[in-house]
Symmetry: C2
Subunit: 448 residues, 2 copies
């Protein structure tokens, strides 16, 4: 059994939904479908979820809501007209909205319920269309699917007991279409995940039904081994592990909402990234443990906007708790850090620049001077990190040398190296100006 999740661009129009239907039809193991709300049809378009948020705001402000509601209805009207479906979904939307606007209740939960109308309506539309073209499909509300969430509107978390309920979906004979993005509290109130939460629903359902595969249909053929804005026409990654995906997503690869994958990761379910517009493309598959592949490096990621905070003190390494106290100061000031490479008497903390503006920097430096009495403390901004990623790096002697050589050959100085004992990644810190040259050179060394 496969769980197929279709993102906003895959369900943005009637034309796209026809592709989705053909994809579902082409593989009978695709028995559970999770959908987003209709996304943008072109750059100038507005996502249905954003239209619903505007509707909610107008209502909250006591303004007239006719235009906002009509904008939502018109998106769905166009879809059902082109698919030649009944107008039941339009009636449902009007009824649901009317009820929310007129009945009592907490405004926060009204806004939550409004936001979820896009996914909910699309699931109804798609299931009706699937039946129309001859499939035995049905809409399944998240409550009936068993998706029970914590009472945290806008950032709800799955409750552990949900998975047993969701497992029962396996017993159904029909193809079920479940709206993503929301579920229900134990008290029956509708709550949503964080934005982009349809990925979370897909991952939860895949884990719950113990799917053989979680297919995530989007609008790219696959994940590239390097940022295509830096390297022209780079190679595609056919398969990578969860760990590799995480290391890559750190710096520039953003195919996934990483949190979304937690349930699938824990259940060790492989995730396939596929293109709705080109379903025959191989795509990229994310697995728990990969078979031996032979290549040490699977991808190269890079990101700018880092800074280092450097602290040195003669005999630092004899001072018990020095590093911990430094990290305490940062935590105290609300700054999260990325890495802490260290020498004997010095310690650098790598921080995203947006974590520490000039004013905050002064506060932190003053506290370090007062509380830790160092010999030197200073910061350096404008750093970039490059991640060279691959689970097999640890069994290839010389990978680090090859990578460092490639960066040196590009004339770029390495400011920092950080390789953990896991050896899934090798991180280089360089000045931002050198990123393009260094990444191109690394690509040539490992992929050409």
């Amino acid at each position: 059994m496969k769980v197929a999740k279709f993102g906003g661009s895959s369900v943005a129009s009637a034309e796209q939904l026809k592709k989705v239907a053909r994809i579902i039809e082409s593989d009978e193991s695709r028995r559970v479908v999770v959908v987003s709300a209709p996304g943008k049809r072109d750059d100038a378009d507005t996502k249905v979820t954003d239209l619903l948020i505007e509707l909610g705001q107008a209502f909250q402000n006591g303004e007239d809501t006719t235009d906002e509601l009509n904008a939502v209805l018109s998106r769905f009207k166009q879809i059902i007209t082109e698919l030649d479906l009944t107008d039941r979904v339009l009636k449902d939307i009007k009824e649901d909205v009317h009820k929310l606007f007129t009945e009592g209740g907490d405004i926060d939960f009204k806004l939550e319920a409004l936001k979820a109308i896009g996914e909910d309506s699309l699931a109804k539309v798609l299931s009706e269309y699937l039946v129309k073209v001859g499939m035995d499909a049905t809409y399944l509300n998240p409550k009936d699917a068993g998706i029970m969430l914590s009472d945290e509107p806008g950032s709800a978390q799955i409750l552990d007991e949900s998975f047993d309920h969701i497992y029962n979906i396996r017993k159904r004979d029909q193809i079920v279409v479940i709206p993503g993005f929301f579920g229900y509290t134990k008290e029956g109130k509708l709550v949503t995940f964080s934005r982009g939460g349809s990925d979370i629903t897909g991952s939860i359902v895949a884990a719950g039904v113990e799917a053989e595969l979680y297919e995530n249909f989007t609008d790219v053929d696959s994940v590239y081994c390097v940022n295509p804005q830096i390297v022209h026409n780079p190679k595609e990654i056919t398969s990578l592990t969860y760990k590799e995906m995480r290391e890559l997503s750190y710096a520039g690869f953003s195919v996934f909402h990483a949190e979304a994958l937690i349930p699938a990761f824990k259940a060790e379910i492989p995730v396939s990234i596929k293109n709705t517009n080109n379903p025959n493309a191989l795509g990229t598959i994310i697995v728990s443990r990969k078979e031996v592949r032979g290549d040490p490096v699977v991808g190269i990621a890079s990101d700018k906007g880092f800074m280092s905070l450097y602290v040195s003190k003669y005999l630092m390494n004899r001072e018990v708790g020095f590093g911990r106290r430094l990290l305490n100061i940062l935590e105290d000031e609300g700054i999260s850090y990325e890495h802490t490479p260290s020498g004997i008497d010095d310690l650098s903390v790598i921080i995203r620049e947006n974590q520490m503006d000039e004013e905050k920097e002064q506060v932190v430096i003053n506290r370090i001077n007062q509380e830790l009495n160092p010999d030197t403390v200073y910061t350096e901004r404008g750093l970039a990190l490059i991640m060279v990623v691959g689970e097999e790096m640890h069994c290839h002697v010389g990978t680090a040398a090859k990578a460092a050589q490639a960066i040196g050959d590009a004339g770029v100085n390495i400011e920092m190296i950080n390789q953990g004992s896991s050896e899934v990644s090798l991180m280089f810190g360089i000045k931002e100006a050198g990123v393009k040259k260094a990444v191109q050179s690394l690509y040539n060394a490992f992929f050409e």
Copy 2:
């Protein structure tokens, strides 16, 4: 003005003291001399300080102390006989010991005073000999030199006000000979530094008199760029910075008691390591800031006996305080750590194996599992660290590549790399079995 400190092997016998006198005579800027107690004359010998500790133990146990006292006296008797000096020092020792054994007072302070007799007597002997051979020299007691210490027997700390007093030594016309290893509290009680504390006295006096140079006479010509037990007949280091010395001393280079140098380091006084037995050898000089030398690497050090504690957790880097909480557990369990290389979702802590036996390891792993709920936690023992050290590494593109290449060429896999933004050192973690091959290969790459 130079401060010359002579270590235990340099003052172990009359023959050695003659060399010391010639060294002092050969440079009239050597105006302040600090001495250790007589050390071993050969491998089977016992240091005078150890004889004094035995004397103190016998006294404390209420045993007969005649043999122990005679052992001390006999060492000095042999020296003064061969140098043809008066026996005043023997009378002083007997008198001091008798006073300590018969007068009232705290046992801890009696033991302290006994321990200091070696340095004190040797300073008297040397000053008398210098006068005898025609120099204008005098013994100077630490109290008169102004060395005022905190009331911490066996690990006393210098009091800041001492330095002003010590500065007055500049005004003296004579060569002064100061015994190392001890000083006095404000109440006038004798207290000692930690063992090896003559280096501390030398460094304090050099800082106090604002010496142009602190000469540390020992029994090696210089510091080698790599452990001579690994590489046959390696190159000598002529000059290195304090920072480089510290990074090297981390892993196998132990010329210095690193704490000893703090006063000299703070006063930015260069330290020269010279050989009493070969004073014309260039030696090694340790400076605050070195002039540009052109070579990126000054030395390679290595040490075994490390282990790594590996912790991974999906989305670790979103969990504020994860690293800090891990370090808290270690601190709580009394474990100090060396480095913390990290990936996105994993963190390794490098620890000296002697910090964590199997039992303690189980406690730590249990706490990590309970308090941090990681996906994986395990340890790996039998690691070695190699430090490639040089202040100029940061202005040489390709040093890291060259080093990693050399290790790879030796067929050794790199488990871990840690390079801080200071770039004074580049640290590699490898399995212990590969150390010799890796260090030899690095030596060939950077020094041959």
